[in-house]
Symmetry: C2
Amino acid sequence: MRITPATELQTRFKNLQAEMQGAGLEAVLMLQNADLFYFTGSVQQGVLYVPAEGEPVYMVRKEFGRARMESGLKEIVPFKSPKDIAGILADFGHKLPKKAGMELDVVPVALFQRFSKVLDGAEIVDASPLIRTVRAVKSKYEIEIMKDAALMMDRTYQRAKEVIREGMSDLELAAELEFFARKLGHQGVTRMRGFNSELFYGHIFSGADAAAPAFVDAPLGGIGVNPSIGQGASYKTIKKGEPIVVDMIAAFDGYMVDQTRTLCIGGLPDQLKKAYDDMLKIELKLKEIARPGAKWGEIYDECYNLACELGYQDHFMGGKGAQVSFIGHGIGVEVDEFPFIARGFKDQELKEYMTFAFEPKAVYPGLGSVGVENTFWVAKDGLKHLTFSSEDLVVL
Amino acid sequence: MRITPATELQTRFKNLQAEMQGAGLEAVLMLQNADLFYFTGSVQQGVLYVPAEGEPVYMVRKEFGRARMESGLKEIVPFKSPKDIAGILADFGHKLPKKAGMELDVVPVALFQRFSKVLDGAEIVDASPLIRTVRAVKSKYEIEIMKDAALMMDRTYQRAKEVIREGMSDLELAAELEFFARKLGHQGVTRMRGFNSELFYGHIFSGADAAAPAFVDAPLGGIGVNPSIGQGASYKTIKKGEPIVVDMIAAFDGYMVDQTRTLCIGGLPDQLKKAYDDMLKIELKLKEIARPGAKWGEIYDECYNLACELGYQDHFMGGKGAQVSFIGHGIGVEVDEFPFIARGFKDQELKEYMTFAFEPKAVYPGLGSVGVENTFWVAKDGLKHLTFSSEDLVVL
């Protein structure tokens, strides 16, 4: 169990302050769990006030003692209600800001209205793009945690090879792997920023169920155990000759990695075997072109075009009519971080120490899906693997 | 796996329409997963438009085919963007409403702003109180699902007695019970409405760790596996003579029940044994007074006063300084539904077929916590148990 070092926190808020100055923000008021963990080291009911210059103030309603124990920030104060904010800020010599940022992509309207009263006429803009820009570039400390998560991922994946047997249900397989990961310290809660985005341990499914589209923004969806969940493993039993997709999130010490591997019992039809090999070719293409400075959208375009050249226009990243327009997504304390390796991101560039998952997948409705996914970090000379399990198509 | 019957959906939207007419709303636009599941039977990326009279229209971006398959609503249409809404409504003979409701307690500001443009000058008020009022009163169909969840809960609890052993960690125990429940069809995702509220399978912890306060709005918090999670099971090992709290959510076919039991190896100190018995007395008091028509706040007051009379002023529902001001919470498709058995709810009354969890707990910082929790439904003549495991303090 790691406590985020104070030096890490300092670098993080200074990076945010640099972004804030660029955007003309006098302050950011932060409320959301993932952001609070990143900037304070301690998830509490509270508000982190980051001024454009100087020390942030973490105002904590519950649990002040825990925040004191876990956070390396200098200024942590108890507070009861948003009404107290002006007074607390005055104690620290801060006036109420005229232009402030909040996380408008995640903060609900009703809560926002309370803060907007407190900020009394201030212009409030969305600070999330700044926050996400800072969070996208990891420190060496963060990369080390993600390596630990990748180790958990590999051990869990090895376990899959031991437990898969004909006739077991996708749900039983999921349960076995979730159990295994949990005993290794998987934190259970996995965070996604998007409204209504729900995530469990990931997607473990076989055959036609792995090709069923769902509400989630993902190439594969799955049937799930009921329509209230509508994604992931179902009660379907695993048969010989169909692809089994193990797409899991390992979450450790607050950080996640995402990995997909494809397995089967007794082999796959040639079409799917070829599709699996071709998805690996798309990953190879990524590794050729992804460098600091490369544009997110151009990486997407080149990989997408290769998929089309290889004949997957109607099968790539979803079945026909249910295809998503991304192949990769940033990952760290949330699963949907910057960068997006996605259509249309013409200007945004990869930077050294960004981390992202890349998941070329081919989908055949009624038959199944195959593909691979790894989490990488961007080094000066190209991508380095965080997840590292063998990418061979496993035939059990 | 249940598909919500069309007759259920019809009763539900008619109940909402009755509330809407009382509040002068011409329409409600619903976006959130739990509400969509309740009112459509199918969680998709979409908008449910409920007019004050007539059939609701479910506009679905992704995945239209799934919505068609799972939802018993008559009017389901594909759509791409909020901009399409006016046109779709016109097709159904609806004008854009002048006063509409949205779920302002959960919908993020940025998303709200997009809809507010589409609704072009309409007054938009919070529809969540109406939605939650409707959802609080369950149908017989819903009660049956919750009984299935309670069965899963009991079987999982029986499993706890088999696997607990001295020296295992809280995390190992949690992993064992989560695994067991998952194999029984636990849906994994558990839903909570409150912003930043995170929930996994529940809280399983022992000794002092079960008395550590956390950010969550709950009597017990726990240390968790890392500060990013900050609640629930940790790596602490289970010792003889300390209370082991098994507070779990069983989630099945979209519905949840909440149950807590206390166990120990080799007995508990007299103080904790007595506290456990006294928590049972508070549950008995609840059963004496909770009837249709009883006020939420009065039930709270009577039970709280009894806790104080019994000497738990500084230990009830949290350690001194970290006490929460509720003893019970509604439960169904979310864990924080109406009714709240909590301080200050002077006017709101229990109604027949409401369901709630009641969890009197005593907390001794540094020592541990004891308590009991059951999920009930309100019958004409009083409470009926949904969760039903034996309430004896278990000595292993």
